[in-house]
Subunit: 380 residues, 2 copies
Amino acid sequence: MTAPVRYRLIKTEKHTGARLGELITPHGTFPTPMFMPVGTQASVKLMSPEELKEMGAGVILSNTYHLWLRPGPEIVKEAGGLHKFMNWDQGILTDSGGFQVFSLAENRDITEEGVHFRSHLSGEKMFLSPEKAIQIENDLGPDIMMSLDECPPFFESYEYVRDSVARTSRWAERGLKAHCNPDTQGLFGIVQGAGFQDLREQSAKDLVSLDFPGYSIGGLSVGESKAEMNHVLDFTTPLLPENKPRYLMGVGSPDALIDGVIRGIDMFDCVLPTRIARNGTVMTHHGRLIVKNAKYAHDFTPLDPDCDCYTCTHYSRAYIRHLIKADETFGLRLTTYHNLYFLIHLMADVRQAIMDDNLIEFRQNLFDEYGYSDATTKNF
Amino acid sequence: MTAPVRYRLIKTEKHTGARLGELITPHGTFPTPMFMPVGTQASVKLMSPEELKEMGAGVILSNTYHLWLRPGPEIVKEAGGLHKFMNWDQGILTDSGGFQVFSLAENRDITEEGVHFRSHLSGEKMFLSPEKAIQIENDLGPDIMMSLDECPPFFESYEYVRDSVARTSRWAERGLKAHCNPDTQGLFGIVQGAGFQDLREQSAKDLVSLDFPGYSIGGLSVGESKAEMNHVLDFTTPLLPENKPRYLMGVGSPDALIDGVIRGIDMFDCVLPTRIARNGTVMTHHGRLIVKNAKYAHDFTPLDPDCDCYTCTHYSRAYIRHLIKADETFGLRLTTYHNLYFLIHLMADVRQAIMDDNLIEFRQNLFDEYGYSDATTKNF
């Protein structure tokens, strides 16, 4: 049996750990490193599937916890799965719901068996176990599933994180056993361990021994500094097998993407581009721009003069500002489209830089233009 | 000098007053009768211009009052006009702002000179005269402009409406004189007169003597019954010249569209399809459907099985219901798209029925399927 989700390494950049590759899924093969737009509730907010394809999205995310609560996995299954339900025929990845249980749900009680909690929508008592997460993900039918994990705060005590990592490993094993569709859906294990090197090592060792088709790195971008995140990646990615995809969860700022790629990450997701877009903020080749600001009222240039997306080739800052000020949602369609296009095309440029072995120079240019201070902890 | 906006009558239906024709504008020639989507604030809510074209929209509306308040006509003018500002290269029609001054603004004071009022947004004192409305519309640059009119309530006293109609005629003449771009923008006069036949006659006579390139019928769909509206149309449209387009303002329900066409109306606009769409209600060939309702949770059929729009060919009621329940705005994009497509294509079917001389039969089928009671006041 061939694994449904595979990774093909094409080349490693000469001066860094950056990998050019391909993620092979039942719904297509996608170049990596890649940024994956987030469609929490079976919709990438404000975007149509056709727009996502047009901008070059390959895999999109959806969320097990949210779809479990609403509309319920039985409805998605009855529809013929998430792809059919939401009209997306390319890759879909679902989170396990663990992160949302810990960040959104109320009255959490973690036991060896699983997590008891109350729905943040209805207040209803619910129980999520590793098996239940897998069952929901099997019903939803994404190409890539996540094991149920616990995501402890970055600055939790060593003892707590040690016990949590051990439990996450046991949960990963239970999830693997419960997985009903191993020939059509690839299940990833999630490496945890906060900032502790030995715990990240233990977590990676446990999961790699279970031979998942891919590995996620969780518990980052949760309040620690960029330097701390990069430091954790420095010692974590080398623990993961070269022939499997590596997914850094919940990271989406341009600097963090590039610094993750440099450390050997292949896949990223984040609500950042879509969330800030709905607040009227866009990413550009020259830094962030808050288009609502009064200074753009008479500015008839595009959001980003160096961008060739639909928004930037058809609309001005003045028009988009007007729409947002007037509560016209089309303005947020335009900013959302631009931000997703920006990150997806940034990754295409990153892939070219890997091909050309000039990723460090590419990074420096981006940091200079974007106005980033340098948070890296390693010299290349 | 050729008028910038012209009408070409192709044929009149054998059994009714329905006219098949073409509206010729500086931004294209469009078949009539037609339904025009409303983009009050320089955006048809949630829709892109490309989507509007894809569904067959020809002319769209925007609103002088709203754009005057925000972003201001000077910004639109600086952008190169409304077409360029909002990325719409087909026809645009603007209302004069009169209706909004009477329905939205506060502390109105009508004088011969114009209307003093307070902005509904800022509370600021403002003054709209016939000349000012034209100046704003000249700045905005639509293909079709409206004269400033007063839209009295349908059940106002005869004396009030008589005086109001006379003033609206004087305002129309002043607007015509103030019009700076008669060779690129067509200015319509608006026939008022509430339900009084002799006042409608006086209004039409006054305006026709000024030789506008087109005539609007205002003051309908403001609380009177469908039968009353049809009755007013029965005696009003025959007063208008055959070689000019006739626009019935603010009417958008399928029955009213057909009954208007039967009485010789060529153009319609209404916020109805977009407004009810954002409330989760859609028009179908089998009547209205409230897709939010619980009974559609497991319904994997399209909104309208007899519709071939993007929404109906790609998404189920269950998915759209989920999106709306989960506050995912993409659901409202889908219902908005469908409703506009429905009305635009209804008008295409109406044009075919005129061509085939079977509009009465077409109307009866629609009324039966939609569950309309018959509000017509005239036998054909």
